[in-house]
Symmetry: C2
Subunit: 189 residues, 2 copies
């Protein structure tokens, strides 16, 4: 059931790095996104795939991880993503990409969750560094990076606390807690 | 399997208007979106629901349908959506909404498809008219309208033709054809 998949599809930032996500899997996930909606059906998104150690190592330094975990510099060696999908916007097709990359990224991550993988959409990217690292031509805007792998952490959803903060946090046992607004708060009227 | 759901989840613009989507279903769909990712977990989206004839009639005139079907003014009475979910961005929380509404809308539509419904993300909206019609306060930005119902049309995906056009079209039998770029075109390198 989709609800189970949506709930299983948490934002994971630590992985079993040695368990691979192969290129064919990445292509299948992009193919899911390819079949999703796109504003005015323009389909301006392009994808760069990475599923090997050397290429992953070129991508990793340009990503910022978990802004609210001030003491955590991001996943250590051994717990880094096994793969990445970089989502680009092709400015030859459109100058604005609306929310197409959200539609695509969610489709990709739900597909990954179904196969026992997990990941995280990363928007905090040192874009010029990543562009150089992957030789991405200037006509492609870097929109999102999806980190992927076999998750090596537990993530739980919970309600907002009394302070109303939406900042996720990690407890002493390493469990990642994500406060979510209630349905009553987000449905108006 | 998610792939089946993604393929079933086409953009439908004609519905069996008398077959309802009830408010509880809309709330369940928004609850799915509530559990999805949000940039920096800020969760700035709010939702307005409509599942009754009178309210639907207030929304409908402010939506533009199927830009490429120049001769089609949109669904006629009897084939209009049975429900709507209006996605708003709460500017008290954020000024920019990234691709959060894409993540949410795709989650909602996949959930709808699972239940035998279908719909369409509509971004071409007469925003000030819709704001007045629903008395949406100025601090909420209107991001997307999702039209929902039991689909009353057949939509097929196909490759781009020799002219490379991505314009969808409707054949003499009323079947809606949607050209999609190939995987080879969208995966770089």
């Amino acid at each position: 059931m989709l609800r189970d998949l949506v709930l299983r599809n948490r934002s994971y930032r630590r992985f079993r790095e040695t368990e691979p996500v192969n290129l064919e899997t990445l292509r299948d996930l992009v193919d899911l996104a390819r079949c999703a909606a796109s504003g005015a059906n323009r389909q301006p998104l392009k994808y760069v795939l990475s599923a090997d150690r050397e290429r992953n190592a070129r991508i990793f330094p340009h990503l910022a991880w978990a802004g609210y975990l001030a003491d955590w510099p991001g996943p250590a060696e051994g717990e880094r993503p096994a793969a990445y999908i970089v989502i680009l916007g092709d400015t030859n097709i459109r100058r604005e990409f609306g929310c197409d990359h959200g539609i695509a990224a969610q489709t990709i991550l739900l597909g990954a969750a179904e196969q026992g993988f997990g990941g995280c959409m990363i928007g905090s990217i040192q874009r010029e560094g990543l562009r150089r690292a992957l030789a991405i031509p200037p006509e492609f805007e870097i929109l999102l990076v999806i980190a992927l792998g076999v998750p090596a952490e537990t993530v739980v959803l919970e309600g907002l606390g009394p302070d109303g903060s939406i900042r996720y946090w990690r407890d002493a046992g390493g469990v990642h807690h994500v406060p979510k607004r209630s349905l009553g708060e987000i449905v108006l009227g």
